[in-house]
Symmetry: C2
Subunit: 236 residues, 2 copies
Protein backbone atom coordinates (compact mmCIF):
# COMPACT_ATOMS: atom_id res chain seq x y z
CA UNK A 1 0.00 0.00 0.00
CA UNK A 2 1.28 3.48 -0.82
CA UNK A 3 2.87 5.30 2.11
CA UNK A 4 2.61 9.01 2.85
CA UNK A 5 4.24 10.98 5.66
CA UNK A 6 2.86 14.33 6.75
CA UNK A 7 5.67 16.15 8.55
CA UNK A 8 4.19 18.93 10.67
CA UNK A 9 6.35 21.96 11.32
CA UNK A 10 3.83 24.63 12.21
CA UNK A 11 4.22 26.84 15.20
CA UNK A 12 5.31 30.39 15.75
CA UNK A 13 6.10 32.91 13.05
CA UNK A 14 9.43 34.24 11.93
CA UNK A 15 8.95 37.80 13.14
CA UNK A 16 12.01 39.97 13.56
CA UNK A 17 13.55 39.50 16.95
CA UNK A 18 11.72 36.27 17.74
CA UNK A 19 13.70 33.10 18.23
CA UNK A 20 14.39 30.85 15.25
CA UNK A 21 11.84 28.00 15.42
CA UNK A 22 13.47 24.76 16.58
CA UNK A 23 12.81 22.94 13.29
CA UNK A 24 15.19 25.30 11.48
CA UNK A 25 18.01 25.21 13.99
CA UNK A 26 21.24 23.70 12.75
CA UNK A 27 22.49 20.67 14.62
CA UNK A 28 25.95 19.57 13.59
CA UNK A 29 25.69 21.03 10.10
CA UNK A 30 22.07 20.33 9.18
CA UNK A 31 18.68 21.82 10.19
CA UNK A 32 16.48 19.67 12.43
CA UNK A 33 13.66 19.48 9.89
CA UNK A 34 15.98 18.31 7.10
CA UNK A 35 17.18 15.52 9.37
CA UNK A 36 13.59 14.50 10.03
CA UNK A 37 12.76 14.26 6.33
CA UNK A 38 15.96 12.30 5.67
CA UNK A 39 15.05 9.80 8.39
CA UNK A 40 11.84 8.96 6.55
CA UNK A 41 13.72 8.59 3.27
CA UNK A 42 16.22 6.31 5.03
CA UNK A 43 13.39 4.17 6.42
CA UNK A 44 11.72 3.75 3.03
CA UNK A 45 12.67 5.84 0.01
CA UNK A 46 9.24 5.27 -1.56
CA UNK A 47 7.40 7.20 1.19
CA UNK A 48 5.78 10.34 -0.26
CA UNK A 49 6.69 13.32 1.89
CA UNK A 50 4.27 16.17 2.63
CA UNK A 51 5.77 19.00 4.62
CA UNK A 52 3.41 21.38 6.42
CA UNK A 53 4.94 24.82 6.99
CA UNK A 54 3.38 28.20 7.79
CA UNK A 55 3.24 30.30 4.62
CA UNK A 56 5.75 32.81 5.94
CA UNK A 57 8.30 30.06 6.70
CA UNK A 58 8.24 28.62 3.22
CA UNK A 59 10.71 30.99 1.49
CA UNK A 60 13.14 30.47 4.38
CA UNK A 61 12.81 26.69 4.04
CA UNK A 62 13.49 26.96 0.29
CA UNK A 63 16.64 28.93 1.00
CA UNK A 64 17.77 26.28 3.50
CA UNK A 65 17.17 23.56 0.90
CA UNK A 66 19.32 25.43 -1.61
CA UNK A 67 22.06 26.09 0.90
CA UNK A 68 22.22 22.44 1.95
CA UNK A 69 21.63 21.01 -1.54
CA UNK A 70 18.62 19.15 -0.20
CA UNK A 71 17.00 17.38 -3.13
CA UNK A 72 14.56 14.87 -1.61
CA UNK A 73 11.21 15.39 -3.35
CA UNK A 74 8.50 16.72 -1.04
CA UNK A 75 5.17 18.51 -1.37
CA UNK A 76 4.66 21.64 0.72
CA UNK A 77 1.33 22.42 2.37
CA UNK A 78 0.50 25.49 4.44
CA UNK A 79 0.17 25.49 8.20
CA UNK A 80 -3.09 26.42 9.87
CA UNK A 81 -4.01 28.12 13.16
CA UNK A 82 -3.70 24.85 15.15
CA UNK A 83 -1.96 21.53 14.66
CA UNK A 84 -5.34 20.04 13.70
CA UNK A 85 -5.72 22.49 10.84
CA UNK A 86 -2.11 21.98 9.76
CA UNK A 87 -2.55 18.20 9.56
CA UNK A 88 -5.81 18.67 7.66
CA UNK A 89 -4.05 20.88 5.13
CA UNK A 90 -1.33 18.24 4.77
CA UNK A 91 -3.92 15.53 4.29
CA UNK A 92 -5.60 17.55 1.54
CA UNK A 93 -2.32 17.28 -0.38
CA UNK A 94 -2.84 13.56 -0.86
CA UNK A 95 -4.39 13.39 -4.33
CA UNK A 96 -8.18 12.81 -4.11
CA UNK A 97 -7.94 9.91 -6.57
CA UNK A 98 -5.89 7.93 -4.02
CA UNK A 99 -8.24 5.73 -1.98
CA UNK A 100 -6.08 3.15 -0.32
CA UNK A 101 -2.90 4.32 1.35
CA UNK A 102 -1.24 4.65 4.74
CA UNK A 103 -0.47 8.03 6.26
CA UNK A 104 2.06 8.73 9.01
CA UNK A 105 1.75 12.07 10.80
CA UNK A 106 5.04 13.12 12.38
CA UNK A 107 6.40 16.09 14.31
CA UNK A 108 9.02 17.99 12.32
CA UNK A 109 11.11 18.38 15.48
CA UNK A 110 11.51 14.61 16.01
CA UNK A 111 14.50 13.76 13.81
CA UNK A 112 15.58 10.74 15.88
CA UNK A 113 12.70 8.37 15.27
CA UNK A 114 14.23 4.99 14.44
CA UNK A 115 13.66 3.79 10.85
CA UNK A 116 12.34 0.49 12.28
CA UNK A 117 9.74 2.41 14.30
CA UNK A 118 8.57 4.15 11.12
CA UNK A 119 8.35 0.81 9.39
CA UNK A 120 6.55 -0.82 12.33
CA UNK A 121 3.96 1.95 12.42
CA UNK A 122 3.18 1.61 8.71
CA UNK A 123 3.08 -2.20 8.87
CA UNK A 124 0.75 -2.31 11.87
CA UNK A 125 -1.47 0.47 10.52
CA UNK A 126 -2.16 -1.71 7.49
CA UNK A 127 -3.57 -4.34 9.87
CA UNK A 128 -5.10 -2.24 12.64
CA UNK A 129 -5.91 1.09 11.01
CA UNK A 130 -4.60 3.43 13.72
CA UNK A 131 -1.21 3.05 15.38
CA UNK A 132 0.86 5.19 17.74
CA UNK A 133 4.40 4.51 19.01
CA UNK A 134 4.83 4.72 22.77
CA UNK A 135 7.58 4.33 25.37
CA UNK A 136 7.43 3.39 29.03
CA UNK A 137 7.48 5.95 31.83
CA UNK A 138 10.86 5.52 33.54
CA UNK A 139 10.32 7.85 36.50
CA UNK A 140 7.91 7.53 39.40
CA UNK A 141 4.62 9.10 38.30
CA UNK A 142 2.28 11.06 40.56
CA UNK A 143 -1.24 12.17 39.81
CA UNK A 144 -2.45 15.52 41.14
CA UNK A 145 -5.79 16.29 42.65
CA UNK A 146 -8.23 17.87 40.16
CA UNK A 147 -8.07 21.17 41.98
CA UNK A 148 -4.29 21.51 41.64
CA UNK A 149 -4.50 24.13 38.90
CA UNK A 150 -6.36 26.50 41.24
CA UNK A 151 -4.41 25.91 44.43
CA UNK A 152 -0.88 25.57 43.01
CA UNK A 153 1.69 22.80 43.11
CA UNK A 154 2.81 23.20 46.74
CA UNK A 155 -0.70 22.84 48.16
CA UNK A 156 -1.87 20.16 45.72
CA UNK A 157 -2.74 16.72 47.00
CA UNK A 158 -1.19 13.96 44.91
CA UNK A 159 -0.62 10.22 44.91
CA UNK A 160 1.72 7.79 43.19
CA UNK A 161 0.13 5.84 40.34
CA UNK A 162 1.27 2.54 38.83
CA UNK A 163 3.58 3.82 36.11
CA UNK A 164 3.55 0.45 34.30
CA UNK A 165 -0.01 1.31 33.25
CA UNK A 166 1.05 4.49 31.46
CA UNK A 167 2.85 5.18 28.20
CA UNK A 168 4.36 8.35 26.71
CA UNK A 169 3.12 8.95 23.18
CA UNK A 170 5.44 9.76 20.28
CA UNK A 171 4.97 10.14 16.54
CA UNK A 172 4.65 9.01 13.71
CA UNK A 173 1.02 8.30 14.45
CA UNK A 174 0.01 6.22 11.46
CA UNK A 175 -3.39 5.52 9.94
CA UNK A 176 -5.26 4.12 6.99
CA UNK A 177 -5.94 7.06 4.68
CA UNK A 178 -9.72 6.54 4.61
CA UNK A 179 -9.93 6.56 8.40
CA UNK A 180 -7.74 9.66 8.77
CA UNK A 181 -9.74 11.53 6.11
CA UNK A 182 -12.98 10.73 7.94
CA UNK A 183 -11.45 11.83 11.26
CA UNK A 184 -10.25 15.15 9.87
CA UNK A 185 -13.66 15.94 8.41
CA UNK A 186 -14.82 16.48 12.00
CA UNK A 187 -15.08 19.98 13.38
CA UNK A 188 -12.12 21.15 15.41
CA UNK A 189 -12.36 20.38 19.13
CA UNK A 190 -9.81 21.57 21.66
CA UNK A 191 -9.66 18.07 23.15
CA UNK A 192 -7.79 17.00 19.99
CA UNK A 193 -4.30 16.87 21.50
CA UNK A 194 -2.84 14.54 18.89
CA UNK A 195 -3.94 12.66 15.78
CA UNK A 196 -4.90 9.59 17.79
CA UNK A 197 -7.40 11.65 19.76
CA UNK A 198 -8.99 12.88 16.52
CA UNK A 199 -9.37 9.32 15.27
CA UNK A 200 -10.56 8.03 18.65
CA UNK A 201 -13.43 10.51 18.61
CA UNK A 202 -14.80 8.51 15.68
CA UNK A 203 -14.90 5.48 17.97
CA UNK A 204 -11.90 3.73 16.37
CA UNK A 205 -9.44 1.91 18.66
CA UNK A 206 -5.82 2.96 18.80
CA UNK A 207 -3.12 0.29 18.62
CA UNK A 208 0.10 0.93 20.57
CA UNK A 209 3.52 -0.22 19.36
CA UNK A 210 7.01 0.26 20.78
CA UNK A 211 8.64 3.58 19.94
CA UNK A 212 12.29 4.42 20.58
CA UNK A 213 13.63 6.36 23.54
CA UNK A 214 15.82 8.65 21.37
CA UNK A 215 12.75 9.91 19.50
CA UNK A 216 12.59 13.14 21.49
CA UNK A 217 10.59 16.21 20.53
CA UNK A 218 13.06 19.10 20.35
CA UNK A 219 11.35 22.00 22.10
CA UNK A 220 13.76 23.35 24.76
CA UNK A 221 17.47 24.32 24.91
CA UNK A 222 17.99 21.10 26.90
CA UNK A 223 16.49 19.05 24.07
CA UNK A 224 18.79 20.82 21.63
CA UNK A 225 21.83 19.90 23.72
CA UNK A 226 20.64 16.29 23.69
CA UNK A 227 20.08 16.46 19.94
CA UNK A 228 23.62 17.69 19.38
CA UNK A 229 25.02 14.77 21.35
CA UNK A 230 22.91 12.32 19.37
CA UNK A 231 24.21 13.60 16.04
CA UNK A 232 27.87 13.98 16.93
CA UNK A 233 30.27 11.27 15.88
CA UNK A 234 30.96 8.58 18.48
CA UNK A 235 34.26 9.00 20.31
CA UNK A 236 37.26 7.26 18.82
Amino acid sequence: MERYAIIVAGGKGLRMGSELPKQFIDINGKPVLMRTLETFVAADASIKLILVLPKDHQPFWQSLCEKHHFNEPHTIASGGPTRFHSVRNGLNSVPPCVDEALVAVHDGVRPFVAPEVIDRCFAEAETYGAVVPVVEVVETLRQLDDRSAEIGLRQAASHTVNRSLYRLVQTPQTFRLSLLRKAYMQEYNELFTDDASVVETLGHDITLVEGNRENIKITTPFDLAVAKSLTSKPEA
Copy 2:
Protein backbone atom coordinates in the same frame (compact mmCIF):
# COMPACT_ATOMS: atom_id res chain seq x y z
CA MET B 1 18.85 23.14 60.69
CA GLU B 2 21.62 20.66 59.84
CA ARG B 3 21.43 19.19 56.37
CA TYR B 4 22.29 15.61 55.39
CA ALA B 5 22.26 14.05 51.95
CA ILE B 6 22.05 10.29 51.51
CA ILE B 7 23.35 9.50 48.03
CA VAL B 8 22.17 6.04 47.01
CA ALA B 9 24.34 4.10 44.60
CA GLY B 10 23.24 0.53 45.20
CA GLY B 11 22.42 -1.80 42.38
CA LYS B 12 24.20 -4.59 40.67
CA GLY B 13 27.49 -6.09 41.72
CA LEU B 14 30.89 -5.77 40.11
CA ARG B 15 31.20 -9.36 38.95
CA MET B 16 33.75 -10.12 36.31
CA GLY B 17 32.33 -9.64 32.85
CA SER B 18 29.33 -7.61 33.99
CA GLU B 19 28.94 -4.03 32.85
CA LEU B 20 30.41 -1.24 34.94
CA PRO B 21 27.52 0.24 36.97
CA LYS B 22 26.47 3.61 35.58
CA GLN B 23 27.49 5.53 38.73
CA PHE B 24 31.15 4.68 38.08
CA ILE B 25 31.21 5.49 34.39
CA ASP B 26 33.44 8.36 33.41
CA ILE B 27 31.74 11.28 31.70
CA ASN B 28 34.16 13.83 30.34
CA GLY B 29 36.90 13.02 32.83
CA LYS B 30 34.96 12.32 36.01
CA PRO B 31 32.77 9.45 37.29
CA VAL B 32 29.02 10.10 37.45
CA LEU B 33 28.85 9.54 41.22
CA MET B 34 31.66 12.01 41.92
CA ARG B 35 29.80 14.63 39.92
CA THR B 36 26.68 13.96 41.98
CA LEU B 37 28.51 14.46 45.28
CA GLU B 38 30.14 17.63 43.96
CA THR B 39 26.75 19.05 42.97
CA PHE B 40 25.62 18.80 46.60
CA VAL B 41 28.82 20.46 47.80
CA ALA B 42 28.29 23.22 45.24
CA ALA B 43 24.72 23.76 46.44
CA ASP B 44 25.74 24.03 50.10
CA ALA B 45 29.20 23.04 51.35
CA SER B 46 27.84 22.43 54.85
CA ILE B 47 25.66 19.48 53.75
CA LYS B 48 26.88 16.26 55.35
CA LEU B 49 27.24 13.58 52.70
CA ILE B 50 26.42 9.91 53.28
CA LEU B 51 27.20 7.64 50.36
CA VAL B 52 25.50 4.24 50.23
CA LEU B 53 27.49 1.68 48.24
CA PRO B 54 27.35 -2.12 48.13
CA LYS B 55 30.23 -3.52 50.18
CA ASP B 56 31.96 -4.98 47.15
CA HIS B 57 31.92 -1.60 45.36
CA GLN B 58 33.60 0.27 48.17
CA PRO B 59 37.27 -0.55 47.41
CA PHE B 60 36.68 0.41 43.77
CA TRP B 61 35.16 3.72 44.87
CA GLN B 62 38.16 4.39 47.10
CA SER B 63 40.47 3.80 44.18
CA LEU B 64 38.45 6.20 42.05
CA CYS B 65 38.68 8.85 44.79
CA GLU B 66 42.46 8.48 44.88
CA LYS B 67 42.79 8.56 41.12
CA HIS B 68 40.69 11.73 40.84
CA HIS B 69 42.06 13.38 44.03
CA PHE B 70 38.50 13.57 45.35
CA ASN B 71 38.70 15.01 48.86
CA GLU B 72 35.15 15.99 49.77
CA PRO B 73 34.41 14.44 53.18
CA HIS B 74 31.72 11.75 53.06
CA THR B 75 30.58 8.85 55.21
CA ILE B 76 30.16 5.49 53.52
CA ALA B 77 27.28 3.15 54.39
CA SER B 78 26.67 -0.30 52.94
CA GLY B 79 23.96 -1.07 50.41
CA GLY B 80 21.18 -3.53 51.20
CA PRO B 81 19.13 -5.97 49.12
CA THR B 82 16.67 -3.25 48.00
CA ARG B 83 16.73 0.53 47.76
CA PHE B 84 14.62 0.65 50.91
CA HIS B 85 17.28 -1.23 52.86
CA SER B 86 20.05 0.89 51.36
CA VAL B 87 18.36 4.12 52.41
CA ARG B 88 17.75 2.71 55.88
CA ASN B 89 21.45 1.88 56.21
CA GLY B 90 22.33 5.41 55.13
CA LEU B 91 19.89 6.85 57.61
CA ASN B 92 21.49 4.83 60.40
CA SER B 93 24.71 6.73 59.68
CA VAL B 94 23.17 9.95 60.98
CA PRO B 95 24.45 10.06 64.59
CA PRO B 96 21.68 9.00 67.03
CA CYS B 97 22.29 12.13 69.13
CA VAL B 98 21.07 14.29 66.23
CA ASP B 99 17.33 14.97 66.66
CA GLU B 100 16.51 17.87 64.43
CA ALA B 101 17.89 17.85 60.93
CA LEU B 102 16.84 17.64 57.29
CA VAL B 103 17.70 14.67 55.10
CA ALA B 104 17.75 14.61 51.31
CA VAL B 105 17.74 11.18 49.65
CA HIS B 106 19.18 11.32 46.15
CA ASP B 107 19.99 8.89 43.34
CA GLY B 108 23.72 8.58 42.76
CA VAL B 109 23.10 8.55 39.00
CA ARG B 110 21.47 11.99 38.96
CA PRO B 111 24.46 14.37 38.74
CA PHE B 112 22.52 17.15 37.00
CA VAL B 113 20.15 18.21 39.74
CA ALA B 114 20.28 22.03 39.89
CA PRO B 115 21.81 23.47 43.09
CA GLU B 116 18.69 25.65 43.47
CA VAL B 117 16.50 22.54 43.40
CA ILE B 118 18.58 21.02 46.21
CA ASP B 119 18.23 24.22 48.18
CA ARG B 120 14.48 24.46 47.48
CA CYS B 121 13.91 20.89 48.68
CA PHE B 122 15.74 21.51 51.97
CA ALA B 123 14.03 24.86 52.55
CA GLU B 124 10.52 23.50 51.90
CA ALA B 125 11.15 20.32 53.91
CA GLU B 126 11.83 22.53 56.93
CA THR B 127 8.29 23.89 56.55
CA TYR B 128 6.35 20.92 55.20
CA GLY B 129 8.28 17.86 56.38
CA ALA B 130 8.28 15.86 53.15
CA VAL B 131 9.16 17.31 49.75
CA VAL B 132 9.77 15.84 46.30
CA PRO B 133 10.88 17.69 43.15
CA VAL B 134 8.76 17.04 40.06
CA VAL B 135 8.61 18.08 36.43
CA GLU B 136 5.71 18.26 33.99
CA VAL B 137 4.93 15.53 31.49
CA VAL B 138 5.76 17.01 28.08
CA GLU B 139 4.43 14.21 25.88
CA THR B 140 0.86 13.03 25.40
CA LEU B 141 0.17 10.45 28.12
CA ARG B 142 -2.01 7.35 27.69
CA GLN B 143 -3.26 5.05 30.39
CA LEU B 144 -3.55 1.33 29.65
CA ASP B 145 -6.31 -0.99 30.64
CA ASP B 146 -5.55 -2.97 33.80
CA ARG B 147 -5.31 -6.19 31.81
CA SER B 148 -2.56 -4.88 29.51
CA ALA B 149 0.20 -6.87 31.22
CA GLU B 150 -1.55 -10.14 30.34
CA ILE B 151 -2.67 -9.35 26.83
CA GLY B 152 0.32 -7.36 25.56
CA LEU B 153 0.74 -3.82 24.26
CA ARG B 154 -0.80 -4.33 20.79
CA GLN B 155 -4.08 -5.68 22.14
CA ALA B 156 -4.30 -3.35 25.15
CA ALA B 157 -7.11 -0.85 25.36
CA SER B 158 -5.88 2.62 26.33
CA HIS B 159 -7.05 6.20 26.56
CA THR B 160 -5.44 9.64 26.68
CA VAL B 161 -5.34 11.20 30.14
CA ASN B 162 -4.99 14.87 31.03
CA ARG B 163 -1.21 15.13 31.30
CA SER B 164 -1.42 18.43 33.20
CA LEU B 165 -2.64 16.38 36.18
CA TYR B 166 0.53 14.25 36.25
CA ARG B 167 4.11 14.90 37.32
CA LEU B 168 7.34 12.93 36.90
CA VAL B 169 9.13 12.48 40.21
CA GLN B 170 12.85 13.17 40.66
CA THR B 171 15.18 13.27 43.65
CA PRO B 172 16.40 14.62 46.12
CA GLN B 173 13.31 13.66 48.09
CA THR B 174 13.80 15.61 51.28
CA PHE B 175 12.40 15.11 54.77
CA ARG B 176 12.60 16.10 58.38
CA LEU B 177 14.90 13.57 60.05
CA SER B 178 12.36 12.52 62.69
CA LEU B 179 9.73 11.78 60.05
CA LEU B 180 12.13 9.83 57.84
CA ARG B 181 13.38 7.77 60.78
CA LYS B 182 9.82 6.86 61.74
CA ALA B 183 9.04 5.96 58.10
CA TYR B 184 12.07 3.70 57.79
CA MET B 185 11.21 1.82 60.97
CA GLN B 186 8.32 0.28 59.03
CA GLU B 187 8.68 -3.19 57.60
CA TYR B 188 9.67 -3.39 53.96
CA ASN B 189 6.76 -3.43 51.54
CA GLU B 190 7.17 -3.88 47.78
CA LEU B 191 4.85 -0.93 47.17
CA PHE B 192 7.68 1.31 48.42
CA THR B 193 8.81 2.61 45.03
CA ASP B 194 10.51 5.73 46.35
CA ASP B 195 11.10 7.50 49.68
CA ALA B 196 7.92 9.53 49.35
CA SER B 197 5.88 6.33 49.23
CA VAL B 198 7.54 5.11 52.45
CA VAL B 199 6.67 8.38 54.20
CA GLU B 200 3.15 8.47 52.72
CA THR B 201 2.39 5.09 54.26
CA LEU B 202 2.64 6.81 57.62
CA GLY B 203 -0.17 9.11 56.51
CA HIS B 204 2.06 12.18 56.00
CA ASP B 205 1.34 14.41 52.99
CA ILE B 206 3.97 14.93 50.31
CA THR B 207 4.68 18.47 49.09
CA LEU B 208 5.68 18.88 45.45
CA VAL B 209 8.16 21.51 44.25
CA GLU B 210 9.61 22.26 40.83
CA GLY B 211 12.55 20.10 39.81
CA ASN B 212 14.77 20.72 36.78
CA ARG B 213 14.45 19.03 33.41
CA GLU B 214 18.19 18.22 33.18
CA ASN B 215 18.02 16.14 36.37
CA ILE B 216 17.92 12.86 34.48
CA LYS B 217 18.56 9.44 35.99
CA ILE B 218 21.40 7.88 34.03
CA THR B 219 20.37 4.30 33.38
CA THR B 220 20.67 3.62 29.63
CA PRO B 221 23.29 4.25 26.91
CA PHE B 222 20.98 7.01 25.64
CA ASP B 223 21.07 8.71 29.05
CA LEU B 224 24.86 8.45 29.01
CA ALA B 225 25.00 10.19 25.63
CA VAL B 226 22.80 12.95 27.03
CA ALA B 227 25.00 13.19 30.13
CA LYS B 228 28.08 13.62 27.96
CA SER B 229 26.47 16.49 26.08
CA LEU B 230 25.46 18.16 29.35
CA THR B 231 29.01 18.07 30.70
CA SER B 232 30.87 19.08 27.56
CA LYS B 233 31.99 22.64 27.18
CA PRO B 234 29.66 24.92 25.22
CA GLU B 235 30.74 25.52 21.64
CA ALA B 236 32.95 28.53 21.04
